[in-house]
């Protein structure tokens, strides 16, 4: 009983911390007009009213009303104020973790301007501090906390992979001096990776290394802290997210790098670029850039040259939610593709209106929701099919995973590539 009360106290503390006016504003603004329904991939795919974004806001707001408003305390029935009990927690887990990719599409289209994504993340934070994160997601966070990367790749295996990729790079550019530098101090760029790369797609490491080679960049990888991801950003546990953020910050300083460059990973870019400074409550003293921005810069400045006709097949672009809606990177990926591909077409809709692939918000890590994840992916499959493209570019390894599964499940017969792979293939060296 005492333990249960302590959990409730911790959960409510998230809502009642009174840090600033943002949460208070968004919790009180929703008018339950329901017009957000058609912006949500879950509702569009399943037509279940409990999946409407407003419903996700309301389950958090109902708890807020119960404990923090006069009406909710005195007349809970009037405003359907809910106790933070087992039933509410179970529903919250299913709605906020299992039925939302936190893509933020509904936010842009909310008639009022409620930051639905922010409220959902606060709800996840409540569940997180109470210990109710789905075990699959939590184990990914724990891997990162315990081993330094979310896939628990050993240091030896990682170094072996890099050495192997270095050989590949040397063969590719026909230069025995071409390198993938490790743990070198004082370089201009400290580059990061999504652990999926050394584990499943090592070719994308050599692709980016080839880009650095062509640009003549002064760069290094850290073998201690290279993981661009921060799954605690999905579980929304502020202390765990801060530990992971702090490690990256410390590593850049240890290696005395001038710039942190983030691999193609939507949430990795968002969490490191935008959220990490807030997690550790510190302004970074170095520049943080996504590899997408960096590659576009190289092309614009003439540091690398690409063959505009290198990619002849029709290519379309998937906009990762965290990169575009949550990070403001919209132009550079398009610029890059137009420098490498003959025939680039947008999906409909695209940019800040683009639909999530379905793998965001930690969904790929939560296998208990796999069936739903692939069901909501039908929207993305249709977008790709209608574009007529044979290649789908996605500057996010998380999205690449989901898009590859969509490709197989919905029989799209397309190739799914990162931008680094496309740039590397079209480099004129």
């Amino acid at each position: 009983m005492k333990e249960a009360n302590e959990k409730i106290r911790k959960g409510l503390e998230v809502l009642g911390s009174g840090e600033d006016s943002k949460l208070l504003s968004h919790l009180n603004a929703c008018v339950r007009c329901g017009l957000c329904a058609k912006s949500c991939i879950y509702y569009l795919s399943m037509k279940d009213e409990k999946l409407i974004p407003a419903s996700k806001v309301d389950i958090v707001a109902s708890v807020y009303r119960r404990y923090f408003t006069f009406t909710g305390r005195q007349l809970p029935g009037l405003v359907k104020a809910r106790d933070l009990d087992d039933k509410t927690v179970t529903e919250m887990v299913d709605l906020l973790f299992g039925s939302c990719t936190v893509c933020g599409r509904c936010v842009k289209h909310c008639s009022i301007g409620v930051d639905i994504e922010y409220v959902v993340r606060k709800g996840r934070e409540m569940l997180s501090v109470m210990g109710y994160v789905p075990s699959t997601l939590q184990s990914t966070v724990r891997s990162a906390l315990n081993t330094g990367n979310n896939m628990a790749i050993s240091h030896g295996d990682f170094v072996d992979t890099l050495e192997w990729m270095e050989e590949e790079l040397q063969d590719e550019v026909d230069d025995p001096e071409a390198r993938i530098p490790m743990d070198e101090k004082g370089k201009k760029v400290m580059y990061t990776l999504n652990p999926r790369e050394p584990k499943f797609f090592p070719i994308s490491i050599s692709a980016m290394a080839k880009v650095f080679y062509a640009a003549g960049e002064s760069w290094t990888l850290s073998t201690r802290m290279y993981d661009v991801t921060n799954y605690a950003y999905f579980s929304c546990h502020p202390d765990e997210a801060a530990v992971i953020s702090r490690r990256m910050y410390d590593e850049v300083n240890t290696l005395e790098a001038g710039m942190l460059v983030l691999a193609e990973c939507g949430h990795g870019v968002r969490s490191n670029r935008w959220e990490s400074p807030n997690y550790i409550k510190k302004q970074f003293g170095f520049e943080v850039l996504s590899s997408v921005e960096l590659m576009a810069k190289y092309i614009r400045e003439g540091r690398i040259r690409t063959d505009r006709g290198a990619l002849k097949e029709k290519v379309t672009l998937h906009d990762p939610c965290n990169l575009v809606r949550g990070g403001g990177i919209f132009k550079d990926q398009r610029y890059i593709l137009k420098q490498c591909a003959e025939d680039f077409v947008e999906m409909t809709p695209y940019g800040t209106d683009n639909f999530c692939c379905g793998g965001g918000g930690g969904q790929l890590a939560m296998s208990e929701y796999n069936e739903r994840r692939m069901r909501i992916a039908e929207i993305k499959a249709e977008q790709i099919r209608k574009s007529g493209a044979k290649v789908v570019a996605a500057p996010c390894h998380n999205c690449i995973d989901q898009l590859s599964q969509i490709n197989f499940t919905y029989k799209l017969n397309v190739k799914v590539k990162t931008l680094a792979e496309i740039v590397a293939d079209s480099l004129i060296i």
Partner: protein
């Protein structure tokens, strides 16, 4: 001054006092401290949030639900007009002139819009699911406020009904969802700041197309 006028003034005073409390609380809590390096302009984001971001062409909630969107706009305009009418009465002024017919007509249309929105809420499966008693009460109070305002413009003898409906609505405003009258502005402000800081808003589609050529 008649008792119903006093009731109206009393309700207005209570409403303003509680709303002021909400506003002061928001101001005292302040903005979140942002440690990340700014990429865009929060001011431009906020301006965009209150202007172009509300345009149906960039907002699906409006463009995909145009009849409801228009009904909502008319409904809100009706509330402002009824509010001005209420203030006129409180100030001891007697509305007169032919234009009153226009305002009365508009208030009936807006009350009709409100009734339509209420019917939709009662019949649409997804709206029924997310609705609270508060939603129905708020709608009925505001719709009645507008309708009674329209009747009052045509039949001045119905002033007590109008003043009582205004008073009830104002007493309810701070405790239910009608307080979005305050939080709407706060929410859009925060959203504009957030997207502006990250250079997501304002959207720059035209510039992109030009640069990519």
């Amino acid at each position: 001054m008649a008792w119903y006028n006093w009731f109206g003034i009393f309700s207005l005073a209570i409403c303003l006092a509680v709303c002021l409390y909400h506003v002061i609380r928001l101001i005292k809590l302040g903005m979140p401290v942002e440690y990340s390096g700014r990429s865009g302009s929060p001011v431009s984001g906020i301006v965009y949030s209150f202007t172009s971001a509300m345009n149906p062409s960039v907002k699906e909630s409006a463009s995909l639900n145009l009849p409801v969107y228009i009904a909502g706009i008319v409904y809100h305009l009706g509330t402002f007009i009824a509010g001005i009418l209420f203030m006129t009465v409180i100030a001891g002024l007697s509305p007169s002139g032919y234009h009153l017919l226009f305002f009365a007509f508009f208030l009936f249309i807006s009350a009709l819009s409100g009734t339509g929105i209420l019917i939709k809420r009662l019949t649409d499966k997804k709206l029924l699911y997310i609705s609270l008693p508060d939603d129905y009460i708020s709608n009925v109070l505001v719709t009645f406020f507008q309708a009674s305002g329209g009747v009052f413009l045509l039949l001045p003898g119905s002033e007590p009904v109008f003043m009582i409906s205004a008073g009830l609505m104002m007493l309810y405003l701070p405790v239910g969802k009608l307080r979005h009258a305050i939080y709407f502005f706060a929410a859009r402000f925060h959203l504009g700041f957030f997207y502006g800081w990250r250079n997501v808003w304002p959207l720059h589609k035209q510039k992109v197309d030009e640069r990519s050529k």
